[in-house]
Amino acid sequence: MAVDSRSWESKTNWLIETEQLTKKFNGEFGVKEVSIRIPKNAIFGFIGPSGSGKTTTVRLLLGIYPPSSGSALVFGHQPHRFSQTDRSRIGYMPQLFMLQNGLTVWQNLAFVASLYGMLRHRKERIRKRLDLVELTGQEKKRASDLSGGMQRRLSLAAALLHDPDLIFLDEPTAGIDPVLRRKFWDHFQKLKEQGKTLFITTQYVAEAAYCDYVGVMSQGRLLMVETPENLKRIGMGGEIIEIKFTDLLSQAQVAAIRQQADVAAGQIQLLNNEMLQVVVEDASRQIPSLLQWCQENEISVKAAQKIEPSFDDVFVQLINRYRDDS
């Protein structure tokens, strides 16, 4: 009896589901044992240093590469056996500009529209996408005459043109100015609200804040998938409290603070003699007890507050920790 391998359908509600997904190139691991589950209607951020396997993972999920081992299911189907219907539900913006340099902006979008079999409302959709990426008025300009940032915007317009359900964006905001970057993320949020699912790789770690889930890749491995908040907590080892003192602290006072049972060992950083940062399990619970301890020990506190670390710092911490472990 013939068995359609594409009918190996997921029984869960995950839109993307991978299990030990591995890709080797000439014996070298491009991606190693990646297991992810991404629900529908979410923004999944994929961060990691250059060469960490983000783009390979995207290509595996698009079916451009078949996996060396492990499995992947997108829409419940194996990507490298996608049907035309599956592919028409996916939008893809590659990392590099891969449209036709010799064609104009409009002609490039018309080419992509035809590739996706779009017939109705083509012009209207092209105009809307051009509006979104702020390329209206540039329709007759050749792609080769566009700046790098404009080419990225054109690629984004092409990826969103056919109104896909699942959108893979490989570094969509690279080379884009902060104002437009913010506009893009606002649009991604709107797409999510419309029920779309976005898989976005980025090197701007701060953009992880806009995501529902963030996967961190390093050296072909997926280190973790967390919400942005948890990612910070895990990255920094807890929450950070910053305390400013009225007077300069003596060495004895700093040592006394270090000995505080509630403060994790080695997680105190003295920024200068009148300010320090303390990593704690739960900032809201720790701030009152710390203030009380200071009062008891006659240390005058000017201010104490919880600090939000930047995702850059979190990312650096995570990658360094992973490298140390490995």
């Binding site: 079916g63 451009i64 104009t104």
Partner: protein, 475 residues
């Protein structure tokens, strides 16, 4: 269900149209490319037609003669004649100087006249003219061989004419003696005794005449009269024989010596309705070669540039499958090359006046098949090479092979069979043969050639489809 099916079909055509419009935009955005592809070949053919002179090189020739005075006189007379494609610039006894002039390109040919020609003839030996040249082009060497053959023939003919002229002079002598004999015969017949003292010529015919007389007597006696005939009959017969001989000698003397030595000449007639000029002859071959080269180059660069510019990645992620992509590419290039051929052919037909004696539909079919097979080879190259420059190199190799093996300037029968296998792989070979038949001969092309082209086109399409399918899913 039906609606879904139609929707699927419509999307299939829309996806194919993506490549049609892309190639259309790519070409129309490069007007210079269009101009080069159409006007370039046309202008080359126009220039060729205007500048080509259907003439052959006149060979500057020196004749080296041996130091024999009698030969020198003949050669001088020979050199004074007008000989086509030969200019006798010098008659000399200095062979070394003549060969030096040949080496210095002041001469094209040196003809060395042999010594002792009369002695050789008497000894039943041929004398050899030695010719020297310095050509390197095989065609020019063949041309020189034709010219020296003509020159040798001319010399032989001159000798023959001289011999005939000598024979005529001898015949005139015989004729005079025949007249003398006839007079003597008449006198004898009238019973009139010849007076040997007053007419010694009649009484004493010279030795030749005597031989002739006895020869004639014996001949007439053997052929016409039995040996037992009477003397009267003998006399009548001899008289008749003398008259016949006189008439034949007169006829021989009056004949043109040049006709006697060369009674035949030739005249060539073509069944062609129109005159085929040299430029016309080359047009179908150039057209076939051009179609093959443009189709092959465009296709060879097509997939490889998609692969390395990254457009292939967009296609991989899109719903377009390998069949749609390859079909779209075939169609777009076929339409583009069809328009190109029509425009180029229009210019050739209306401006250069190239004849089109056959059926237009066959012409279109043959051109289409050549384009499809060439595209097939181009896509095959594109599917296997690893860079643009490799694709260009492969298409140049194909062009070079076509120039030598397609019958463009060498006929296929001049090639040994392994090379002919290469010839019959090249679409230009089929194109040249069929386009020449259609355009210049006005006949139906050999249908088996068109069937083979069609088979090759289908096989290459399937091969490219399978290969592209594999490329779309990277390993």
């Amino acid at each position: 269900m039906i609606l879904r099916f139609f929707n699927h079909i419509i999307r299939f055509f829309i996806r194919i149209s993506a490549f049609l419009s892309r190639e259309f935009y790519t070409v129309t955005s490069q007007p210079r490319l269009f101009v080069i592809l159409i006007l370039g070949p046309f202008l080359i053919l126009l220039l060729f037609g205007v500048s080509y002179q259907n003439t052959f090189q006149t060979l500057r020739t020196a004749i080296v003669v041996p130091e024999e005075n009698d030969v020198q006189a003949y050669v001088d007379a020979f050199a004074d004649q007008q000989i086509a494609n030969i200019e006798i610039v010098n008659v000399t006894t200095e062979k070394t100087q003549a060969l030096f002039d040949l080496q210095s390109r002041r001469l094209d040919l040196v003809m060395e006249v042999p010594e002792k020609i009369p002695e050789n003839i008497e000894n039943n030996q041929q004398s050899v003219f030695n010719f020297y040249h310095q050509e390197i082009d095989p065609y020019e060497i063949s041309y020189v061989e034709i010219i020296i053959s003509r020159l040798t023939d001319r010399a032989n003919r001159q000798v023959l004419i001289a011999s005939v002229e000598q024979s005529k002079a001898l015949a005139q002598t015989y004729q005079t003696e025949v007249h003398t004999l006839a007079q003597a015969e008449a006198q004898m017949k009238e019973g009139f005794a010849p007076d040997s003292a007053t007419n010694p010529q009649i009484m004493n015919p010279n030795r030749n005449a005597t031989i002739l007389w006895f020869l004639l007597q014996s001949l007439t006696a053997e052929e016409n009269n039995p040996p037992s005939s009477a003397a009267e009959t003998e006399s009548k017969s001899a008289e008749a024989g003398l008259e016949t001989m006189d008439a034949q000698l007169s006829k021989f003397v009056e004949m043109d010596s040049s006709v006697l030595v060369a009674p035949f000449k030739h005249d060539l007639h073509s069944l062609m309705e129109v005159e085929i000029k040299p430029v016309h002859f080359y047009v179908p071959a150039v057209l076939a070669l051009l179609l093959q080269h443009i189709a092959l180059s465009l296709a060879a660069l097509s997939i490889v540039s998609d692969r390395f510019s990254g457009t292939m990645e967009i296609m991989r992620a899109s719903p377009a499958n390998a069949f749609e992509i390859i079909l779209g590419k075939y169609l777009s290039f076929a339409i583009f090359l069809g328009a190109l051929t029509a425009l180029l052919f229009g210019l050739l037909y209306f401006v250069l006046g190239v004849p089109m004696l056959g059926n237009w539909r066959y012409l279109a079919l043959a051109a289409l098949l050549v384009v499809l097979v060439s595209l097939g080879f181009g896509f095959l190259i594109s599917n296997f090479v690893r860079s643009d420059s490799q694709a260009v190199q492969f298409s140049m190799v194909f062009l070079l092979a076509s120039i030598f093996f397609s019958g463009f300037f060498l006929q296929l029968y001049q090639l040994r069979w392994p090379a002919q296998i290469v010839s019959w792989i090249l679409p230009a070979t089929y194109g040249i043969k069929t386009l020449q038949d259609i355009m210049l001969r006005g006949i139906q092309p050999q249908m088996n050639l068109l069937w083979i082209l069609a088979g090759m086109a289908i096989a290459l399409f399937i091969l490219n489809w399978v290969r592209l399918h594999r490329l779309l899913v990277q390993r």
